[in-house]
Each structure stands twice: as structure tokens, then as C-alpha cells.
């Protein structure tokens, strides 16, 4: 039974695209057949994060407008044979497609893949409506910041209004040192405000910035805590109830110190 999951947040810059890339790659690591669909038409960058920018020939709009066959537009990942990307068009905008067309496309993709992950654009306008049109479930990404949580709350309301009841939460970029000092909202606080089920927590990690820039998702590096956090989320998506990582174990300075003196954890 295949699933279409939209990855959304409302606010921009909280890590939707990074999350999409890592969840897609992680699910492929777990042996699933996955297609990542970039719904951010006009501002595409899922291809960049995956390091597949140079392979794009056709895109989502080409498929919808019938300029090419679906299989010609799908880009196979460098590392994982089960992972494919359907890139967004860069020269058009969100109004170029309709929710109905999106729904049709996702229905077609679901026949061939275990998971269709949709990277949703920021905002609540046409792009958002297109992105959620064919989704069965949603993953909400938020950071422990008031502005991101406000937007996430709005999004959850809109998803409910659109009959997407299964929405689960990823708290991204948590810094346990700041939480301990009382300078950052804790995971419990965020979950209490948004009142939806948590599916994962990803620590703030400069390694993610590096991996994003090099086009190699962090989930490929299982020696890094944030990489493990993403793989755990993937396992939870597949229905495997894995325990949460102890994020207190190694934060910021401590890990940098360890790597300085040559420990490879």
C-alpha cells in the first residue's frame, strides 16, 4: 500500500527541503521505492540538496503538460537505486498547475512507488494547495521558534480543513544546551502547543549545512547524530516504533572537541 506524504511547514526556511531530501534518501536506504516530488515551482532546490541539479532535463510541468513521459522526467539518485526525483520547473510559477492535475500525477506515481514525498513550498497560497492536493498524510516541520510554531499551527488547521487528519510533527534544529538554559522552547512545549503526534526531533547541526551544500543528504552519514535522527524518522514512517535518540549526549562544543582529538564516534 503506497502513501503520499506532504512535507510542509507554512514558514519558510525551517528545513522542509532538507527534511524531504533526508526522508526520501532514508526511506530508500530502508529499501523502499521512493519518489521525491518538488512542488516548489519557480523556486526549486530539492534537486540541489540531493546533488542532482545537473541531471534535470524535464520537470513536473513538462509531465503535466504532456511534453514528455513521466519516466523520462524522473531522475534516479546517484547512490540509491530506489530513489527518484521529479524536479520542479524553475521558469514557471505556482499557477502553472492545478490541484486536480497534481492529484492525477500523484495517483499515477503511487502505482509505481511505495512512498511519494511531496516537498511543499512555504506559504498557504496556490503552491500549498497544489502540494497537499494528492497527499494522504502530512509531516509538519517546525523549529522551536514562536514564529515557526504559529505558522505550523495555521497549517495544521488548513490540513484538517482539507481532510488530511494524519499530520505528524518534526521539531527541527533543537539545541538542547539552549533548552536547558531556558532560552529555547523544549520539545514538550512545542508538542503541547501544536497538539499533534511527534514523529521525530532533529538536532541543530552545522554538518547539515555542509551536507546540503555538497548535495549529499546527512542521512547517508550514520556516524552523525542528526543523520541517525533522520533515519529514525524514516523507520517511524514505515511503522517501526524506534526509541528517540538521547540528544543530550553530544552537543556542539563537546562533539567538536571529540572530533578535534580524533574520536570518530
Amino acid at each position: 500500500m503506497s502513501e503520499a506524504i506532504v512535507i510542509t511547514s507554512g514558514k519558510g526556511g525551517v528545513g522542509k527541503t532538507t527534511t524531504s531530501a533526508n526522508l526520501g534518501t532514508g526511506l530508500a536506504i530502508l529499501g523502499k521505492k521512493v519518489v521525491l516530488l518538488d512542488a516548489d515551482i519557480g523556486l526549486r532546490n530539492l534537486d540541489v540538496v540531493l546533488g542532482l541539479e545537473n541531471r534535470i532535463v524535464y520537470n513536473l510541468i513538462d509531465v503535466i503538460e504532456g511534453n514528455c513521459k513521466l519516466k523520462n522526467a524522473l531522475i534516479k539518485d546517484k547512490k540509491h537505486p530506489g530513489l527518484f526525483l521529479l524536479p520542479a520547473a524553475q521558469t514557471r510559477d505556482k499557477d502553472a498547475i492545478s490541484p486536480e492535475q497534481m492529484m492525477e500525477l500523484i495517483t499515477t506515481l503511487k502505482k509505481d512507488f511505495d512512498y511519494v514525498l511531496i516537498d511543499c513550498p512555504a506559504g498557504i497560497e496556490q503552491g500549498f494547495k497544489n502540494a497537499i492536493a494528492g497527499a494522504d498524510k502530512a509531516i509538519i516541520v517546525t523549529t522551536p521558534e514562536v514564529s515557526a510554531i504559529r505558522d505550523a499551527d495555521r497549517i495544521i488547521g488548513l490540513l484538517e480543513a482539507n481532510e488530511i487528519k494524519d499530520a505528524r510533527l518534526i521539531v527541527n534544529r533543537i539545541r538542547m544546551d539552549m533548552v536547558k538554559r531556558g532560552d529555547m522552547m523544549s520539545i514538550e512545549d512545542v508538542v503541547e502547543i501544536l497538539a499533534i503526534d511527534l514523529i521525530g526531533v532533529v538536532p541543530d547541526d552545522e554538518q547539515i549545512v555542509i551536507s546540503t551544500n555538497t548535495g549529499d543528504p546527512i542521512v547517508n552519514s550514520q556516524n552523525i547524530l542528526s543523520g541517525r535522527a533522520y533515519l529514525n524518522i524514516c523507520k517511524r514512517i514505515t511503522g517501526d516504533d524506534v526509541p528517540y535518540l538521547d540528544l543530550n549526549a553530544e552537543t556542539g562544543l563537546f562533539r567538536r572537541l571529540k572530533s578535534l582529538i580524533g574520536f570518530n564516534n
Binding site: 504559529r150 488548513l158 512545549d189 497538539a195
Partner: protein, 222 residues
């Protein structure tokens, strides 16, 4: 030998409890016997009918229904299956609660109001959930929030006299009762969680928020 069928009454009508191992023909015969024997007893009431003990094919249900109708004067309003009957009972409780609320002029809303959502009513309102930042309630009468109140609330749009707002956790962005307006302090800081029930009311044209104690309603003359 156990009876092939038992006929019991429930809140809304009759339950026919079927012994699972009995062949259908015997069940039919037993129903016929029991119904015709109890013809006087059952009278001509309007009832719902539930089959329990064994799941039946639609055709079998219809046959049994036919047998019951032939052998009694009961008016079967509808067939209800077991789960549905339990649901119906639950609905009845809810309806009773709702009716009570209707009579006291309040409505129930049993979901969290999220950012961008708005609830407007001429009556009072009881929210079973949170009112998040960016959500808006405006009510003709009182507002009771059994959860966190963090959004915008306007109580007493219609009946401003003695209108009040109660919340388990009172931290509204803005609060308005009738024509009187108040806003949250500028001190900022992180959002707090945890329950600390409070009541907001108008005193000398200002909004006052106080801890809920067991005498407060009396003191306020509510």
C-alpha cells in the same frame, strides 16, 4: 439445550441475541415462536431492531425482519447493528449535554481553535480544547476555555452585562468583554504552559483577571 434466540429490550428497542452455532432455519423458527408467543406483550410499539451474537447476511436479516413483522404488531423503525447501537447511545449522552448547554445559552466546540480559525456565535461558548495564537472567538455571552487561551477573545458581544471569560490557562493576546479591551503585557518572554485557571471580568471599565477560587463567582455576583 440453550435457546436458539433470546429477545431482549434495550434503550431504543429490541435486541435479538442469536446463539452462534444454531443453523439459520432454527433461528428463524425460534424467532417466529417467540414473537408470536409474545405478540400481546410486545404490543404495537415503535422500536429499533438489533441482531447480536452472530453476524448475519443482509438477506438473512431481511428474512428475520419479515418473520418478526408477520408475527407481531411491532413497528420496526430501523435496523441498528451492535456497534452503531453503542454509538447511538454515546450520541444520546452528547445530545443531553448539548441540550443542557442550549438551554443555558451556550454552545460546545470540542476542538482546538488553531491560528487563522474563527468562531463566532451569538451565544456563550465552551471550548473543549485550546485557543491558539492567531485564533479568534467572539461570543454573545460568556466564554469558557477548557484548555489554553492564547488567541483573541471577545466575550459579551451581545450580553456585555456581567459577561466573563474563564480559561484553564489564561494568556490571551487580546481580550475584549463588551466594549472594554485589554491586551497581554509587553513583558514578552517565552510562552508558558501548564494550567492555572483564571477568570476575566470587567470592573470599573477595566479588564480584571483573577485566580479562580471557590468563592469568586459569588463575590462577582455571577
Amino acid at each position: 439445550m440453550k435457546d436458539a434466540v433470546l429477545i431482549k429490550g434495550n434503550q431504543h428497542g429490541l435486541s435479538v441475541v442469536i446463539e452462534p452455532d444454531t443453523p439459520f432455519q432454527d433461528v428463524k423458527e425460534a424467532v417466529r415462536r417467540k414473537m408470536s408467543a409474545g405478540r400481546q406483550f410486545f404490543g404495537n410499539a415503535q422500536v429499533t431492531l438489533t441482531f447480536e451474537g452472530k453476524s448475519l447476511e443482509q438477506k438473512e436479516k431481511e428474512e428475520l425482519l419479515g418473520v418478526i413483522q408477520e408475527n407481531s404488531q411491532l413497528e420496526i423503525i430501523c435496523l441498528v447493528d451492535e456497534d452503531e447501537r453503542r454509538l447511538a447511545e454515546k450520541m444520546l449522552f452528547l445530545k443531553a449535554a448539548q441540550k443542557e448547554a442550549d438551554e443555558s445559552g451556550a454552545i460546545f466546540y470540542n476542538k482546538t481553535l488553531r491560528s487563522g480559525q474563527e468562531l463566532e456565535t451569538d451565544r456563550g461558548v465552551v471550548i473543549l480544547g485550546d485557543v491558539n495564537n492567531g485564533a479568534k472567538i467572539s461570543a454573545g455571552g460568556n466564554v469558557v476555555v477548557l484548555g489554553n487561551l492564547k488567541g483573541f477573545v471577545h466575550a459579551g458581544t451581545r450580553y456585555p452585562d456581567k459577561a466573563f471569560v474563564v480559561a484553564l490557562h489564561m494568556q490571551p493576546m487580546q481580550i475584549r468583554i463588551g466594549q472594554v479591551m485589554g491586551r497581554s503585557p509587553d513583558s514578552g518572554g517565552m510562552e508558558k504552559t501548564g494550567y492555572d485557571p483564571k477568570i476575566a471580568f470587567v470592573e470599573d471599565d477595566r479588564i480584571v483577571i483573577e485566580q479562580i477560587t471557590n468563592t469568586i463567582y459569588k463575590e462577582l455576583g455571577l
